[in-house]
Amino acid sequence: MFKIVKREQFSPVTYLWKLEAPDIAKAAQPGHFVIVRHGDRGERVPLTIADFDRQAGTITLVIQAVGKTTTALMGLKEGEYLDDLAGPLGRARSFDKVKKVVCVGGGLGVAPTYPQLRQYKQNGAHTISIVGFRSKDLMFWIDRFKAESDELIIATDDGSFGVKGLVTGPLQEVLDRNPDLDEVLAIGPSIMMKACVAVTKPRGVKTIVSLNPVMVDGTGMCGGCRVTVGGKMAFACVDGPEFDGLQVDFDELLARAKRFDSFERESMRRLREQHQCHLPK
């Protein structure tokens, strides 16, 4: 059982949990993920760690209610307990030798980009951040990004704040201005990471992406999270979830992400029905 010591609602569908998990906080590194599960019939959902505090013994997750589980979990309140939290999982990487980096976070991916940005900064890198949201009211953690970025660019799809459009526009512009970049980190929806790679690949800039395929156990047991990287099969849970973006087969990743769409829609429909039953007449 893991206590939700702090809860924030970022938007109607996005929320933050700070969870009491001292052992995980101690072992966590930027890029790691956890598996969350709740209830006797609950599924296992992988979520990238958005922050960890070793002193306080907590980890932070930012969750978007996209399916049945993440929607149902939105109902857990501050002070309540999550049944299962397993991690940290995945391979951590080295931040050494990076002098100049661009960190691109898109939507929910802004959250797990943060501990990486902080690590780059701590290691002395010049940090340029590009964060993208659909609109102004979905923005979060701008202050945190400001504190760790030498340069911060905010983009919104609808132009309600900052640069209008996707993150790829500013990315292109930043690449043009900074021929001395060591690497680009891009975290967000697969389609966004694919688009970022489309910008960086022609220039041959090293690009790290954090993939989020469907997983069951998250420990290498099921192989459901397999992705093709450099023509070879890899398991995102134990070989990743971070990979060399220039080598990732994004089309396959996007197709595989649709594996359970019809089931998810059905589960959501049932969840809505159940909720309606409980509404007062």
Partner: protein, 485 residues
Amino acid sequence: MEAPTRPKKTIKTIAKTKTAMPEQDPAVRARNWNEVTLGYTEDQALAEAARCIQCKNPGCIAGCPVAINIPGFIQAIENRDFRKAYDVLAADNVLPAICGRVCPQETQCEAVCIVGNKLEPVGIGRLERFVGDMALKNGWSLATSVKRNGHKAAMIGSGPASITCAVDLARAGVDVTIYEALHTAGGVLKYGIPEFRLPEKLIDRELEALKGLGVKVVTNAIIGRLFTIPQLMQEMGYETAFIGVGAGYPNLMGIPGEGLNGIFSANEYLTRVNLMRAYQHPQSDTPTGMGKKVAVIGAGNTAMDACRVSIRMGAEEVYCVYRRTKKESPARAEEVHHAEEEGVKFNWLTAPVRILGDERGWVRAMECIRMELGEPDASGRARPVPVNGSEFLFEVDTIVYAIGTSANPILAQTTPGLKLNKRGYIDVSPDTQMTSIPGVFAGGDIVTGGATVILAMGAGRKAARAMLQYMGIAAVAEPAHQTKG
């Protein structure tokens, strides 16, 4: 209790065949998740126990990887002293209801049963299950009154190897903690073996024995990530650790098209259905994502499980595809037989060479090639050789790979000095199960590669003996054979 005198049994006076065990009709069971075999009634158990001739030099005990006193427990059944039968069994095996169901007795105890030389061997597995079930029904359990000796040991993984090791250490007074990566204990028993062969509730009840012995179980603890082995040994005060993490790292074939949707490892498929209860979806949250025409590649026990699960999940057609013939298939004969009865179709001497998808990225067919048997290979089995030009299209929408597993790399990545063999499994001393790191032992599938529950248990037991010695604890003369209930 004095055994009642009865005429001495000989091979000539006993029933020639095993007492049949009732089972669900194939047509009925193919549509439900209840157990296929129903277990002996008391009368049936007594009839079968009467077939054991209590040999002076029995073969069965040596045929059992954990050396259960088989004639002893069968004698107690015959005497209708079921409680004693359990005590004798539990002295060597804390999981009799489980082992009675999933052990391949036909290649172990029953293969060397003296009665089996002339007639059908004694149904040892069925009798073990009878006693195990009786113990669960009556709440018999293991002794708790073990004096702690201050020694501490960690088990990594909570499958059969670790459980056996934990119990043996706990019975000798060691303070044991089991670390399990998943949200529930049991390892392969939970994620790998389907409900209709081994009900989940039964596993949980049999694992209660651990609690009775004071063994602590920590779930959601991935050793190698949450804690490393050096941490366990240096910071957390464990004098010794046992690695029993299994070999759950699925193999694929490496043929074109494996990234398509509708292709599963048997691990994923069975984990979804068993551990995550997809068989109850949508009441449970996890779906399988399977289609209607399923091909299972491979013909081992896992393949049979995947086939039989598919039937119950409502697949319209289920094919077992294997590159050799029925004769070479590694599954238990009983499993193949059950699968056939339930409507699984077998395609022997067939191997997929590539997988074809539709425009949406889902499987639509496999291209297969016919095989023929050639000279024996290193395993002693006839080598399958492709027949040139025999390629054909096999239309399916779901493919499950049940072609074995490899070693999970997480522990090795984070444990400096842990020596692996060429196949990536952990190297151990054959006498003690100790790894290249002093005090760290290993056993089960992570050492041998995929094998059986009972072999893993045997390895756990062997390691426990060596771990006691390592900690300087005199091997308990007669490990708490007393049980209470």
